[in-house]
Structure formats: C-alpha cells, structure tokens
C-alpha cells in the first residue's frame, strides 16, 4: 500500500512549530487513538485534529480500493476489511463525541470560538463543525422563540442567558508523557499543593490543572 505522501506533507506543513519530520501511517494511527481517547474524557471540546482525521480517511479510502481488487478466495481480505472497519469505528466515535459536546454546549462553544477569533487564535472547531454549531444554535433559537409564546412570563432570551458550560473542574485520569514539576492540584486556589509527576506515571487529577498539558500533548487522558 503506498503511503499518501502528499497528505503527510500537508500535516508537516500545518504543524511547522511542532517539528514533525516524518510520520508513518502507524504513527498517525497512534495519534488518532490518543486524540480519540483524549476527546472522550475531556469535559470540554478540544482543538480539532482535522489533519489527522483526513489522513486516516484518505488511508481508509485507498485501502478500500485495494480490498475491492482482492479476490474473494483470499483469506487476508478479511484482515484488511477488519482493519478498515476498526479505523472507521474510531474516527466516527471521535467525530460523534465532538458533535455531542457541540450539541450540549453550543452557546458556550460559539462564544469561546468568537473570543478565540478576536484574539487571533485558531478555532477549536473544524470548518464543518463550526457550521454545524451555528446551524444548531439557530434552530434552537427558532424553536425557543416558538415555544416561548406559550409562556407569557418568559422572554425568548431566557434560555440563552442560562448558558450550559462544561465543568472543567471535573476529575480525569491521565498518563504523563514527560516529567512535570510543580503542578498545582487545585488551580483555582493560589496556595494549593504542588505535585511533581514523573514521566509515564498515572494520576487522577482535576482537569483544569492539566488543561493546557492535554492540549499541547504532554499528557494523555486515560
């Protein structure tokens, strides 16, 4: 199976700052798996990894063409097919988790995205996710406007003033990839205890303490 070099280069370009020198499909899979599990356990929506998803989808597509060309007598066809199915499961599960979060926290997420754009940071949502979020919030608006007619005491913005936010102080299990020193246990408290976490060790800790570390990839949620 040929590696899709063009796509891999795209990834390298878009991540100049992160020194991707060369990346094999196996490493992309590894990355996808980490991204999937992180997204599953993080209370808030994480920055999108569209590059990784695109590469995987590309790989699945080219693999499927190859599978079609295999004869039915070949028992390895099953193995190829199973791998493709496994990958597809992982990617869909990842994307669905994100959509679920968008549906739950749509107002909050759109607000945060706006702030990010103002500050000139890149968006967390991908193009399509952003569109979905906007569509979703518009339909919610329409729906509530309609339904509020039945409740004369409430105005239509009653619902949107109660913003649903993810609880970033929730507890998560994590595994560290490097040694981290002086991590506050409770980030909301200025004189909270500090802990040192050795590379490879696993702890349960408040998500807000490690939020940045999850986003830059120093720790994985498990």
């Amino acid at each position: 199976m040929d590696l899709d070099d063009t796509n891999l280069e795209d990834l390298n370009d878009s991540n100049d700052s992160e020194d991707y020198v060369h990346i094999t499909p196996a490493e992309v899979l590894e990355l996808m798996e980490e991204t999937w599990v992180n997204e599953k356990f993080a209370p808030e929506i994480l920055p999108n990894k569209t590059e990784v998803v695109d590469i995987i989808l590309e790989q699945i597509k080219s693999m499927e063409v190859n599978i079609k060309n295999l004869s039915n007598d070949d028992f390895t066809k099953n193995i190829y097919q199973l791998e493709v199915d496994k990958l597809r499961f992982m990617v869909t599960s990842y994307l669905r988790t994100r959509l679920e979060k968008i549906e739950s926290y749509v107002v909050h997420i759109l607000k945060e995205e706006e702030k990010r754009v103002e500050k000139g940071e890149s968006k967390y949502l991908s193009e399509q996710e952003y569109k979905f979020a906007q569509d979703y919030s518009r339909s919610m608006d329409r729906y509530f406007n309609k339904i509020m007619n039945f409740c004369p005491n409430l105005t239509s913005d009653t619902w949107s003033s109660k913003v649903i936010e993810p609880n970033n102080n929730s507890f998560v299990f994590m595994k560290s990839k490097k040694t981290i020193e002086g991590l506050p246990i409770d980030i909301t408290n200025a004189d909270s205890d500090l802990v040192d976490i050795k590379s490879g060790s696993r702890v349960i800790i408040c998500y807000s303490s490690i939020e940045e570390l999850v986003k830059n990839g120093d720790v994985n949620l498990i």
Binding site: P25, E100, V163, S170, I185, R202, I204
Partner: protein, 205 residues
Amino acid sequence: MDPDELEFLGEKSKIMIIPTFNKENIHLISGDLGPFRASLPSQVPLWVATLLKKQKRCKIIPPDWMNVEYLEALKEQEKQTSGFTRMPSDHYMVEAKLLLDCAPDDIPNADEVKVIIKDIWDMRMSKIRSSVTKLVKNSDFYAAVDNLTIMEINSVRPILPHALDNLFRMKHIEQPKPSQNSNVSSFLMSKRASTSFQLSNNEDY
C-alpha cells in the same frame, strides 16, 4: 468508556502465532505483517491472531506471563503487598479474555490460568475499593494510580471522578467567592459524567 472500547484499545498488542499457511507480507495501515511461513513463529496484533485462530489458520503462542507458575507468583506478590503490583501487561484482562475465549487449546492449563487471573483481578478490585473509600474520606483531590491497568481504572469510572467532582464543588462553595458567576448556572446534559450541576449562589431557578 465501554468495555468494548477498552478491548478495542487492548487488541493491538502484539502476540506470537505459528501460522499453518504460507503467505507473503500483509500490508496493513498499521504496518506490515509477515511474511508467513507455515510452522515458523510470526508476530501479529492480537486482533489478527484471534481472527486467524477462528479460521483455524494458526496456533497461538501465549504471552510469557500467561502460565500457571508466573501467575501464582504474581498472585502471591499481590497478596503480600498492600499496594498494587505492576502487571505484566497493561491490558492483561483483555488479552486473557480474548485468548482464553478463542484459543483455550493453545494455552497450557487454560482453566487454571483463568482462575488465577480472576483471583488476581478480585484481589486488586477489593484493594481499589478500599483505596477509593480512603481517597474520598480524606477528600484528597489528587492520587497516583501508577500500577493500575486501564480496565481497572475504568471500573471506578464514573463513580469516583464524579464523587470527587462533587467534593471539589462543595469545598469551593464553602469559601465565598466573588459573585461574578452568580447568575450563571450550568446544567448537566446527557450521561456524560464529567459534567454536572454547578450550584449558583442565587437560587433563581
């Protein structure tokens, strides 16, 4: 996370098989396998091994740790120490389950192995339960879980993180906070355990 998804994560660990077929390399996205020569051992991911085994195209060589002597020693060690022993594999439960289900004929004393692994699991689970109680009683907001495997961590989810969420919240309610957030309430949606009701200071709902 569902046990199925944990199985998914555990399935990619490598295992040795003895194929009964000849085949050139298999080029998977996750890397190349083979070439396979009948009766020469070859390394494949666990999910490939179980698939081939179900098709009766290979014999599985059980991992080093999956034998009675090693596991007995491990069980003894687990019994002696108050902490958790390091497990030979991060996905030992998944591996044991898959292999014992599909290839009991390739594992010497499969039944005995099964019983010992279950014993170790039970012992560890009861240790986990008592450490969880201790953690919650002390209301510590940090704990190292170094030697716990993913499956064991998953077994205390969502109850432990959720209990700590609530303790954490109570602790923060005790200290009066500036009222900037007082009119914002956030609700728990869906079954996701990591989110929950955030109590607001003014009870206007």
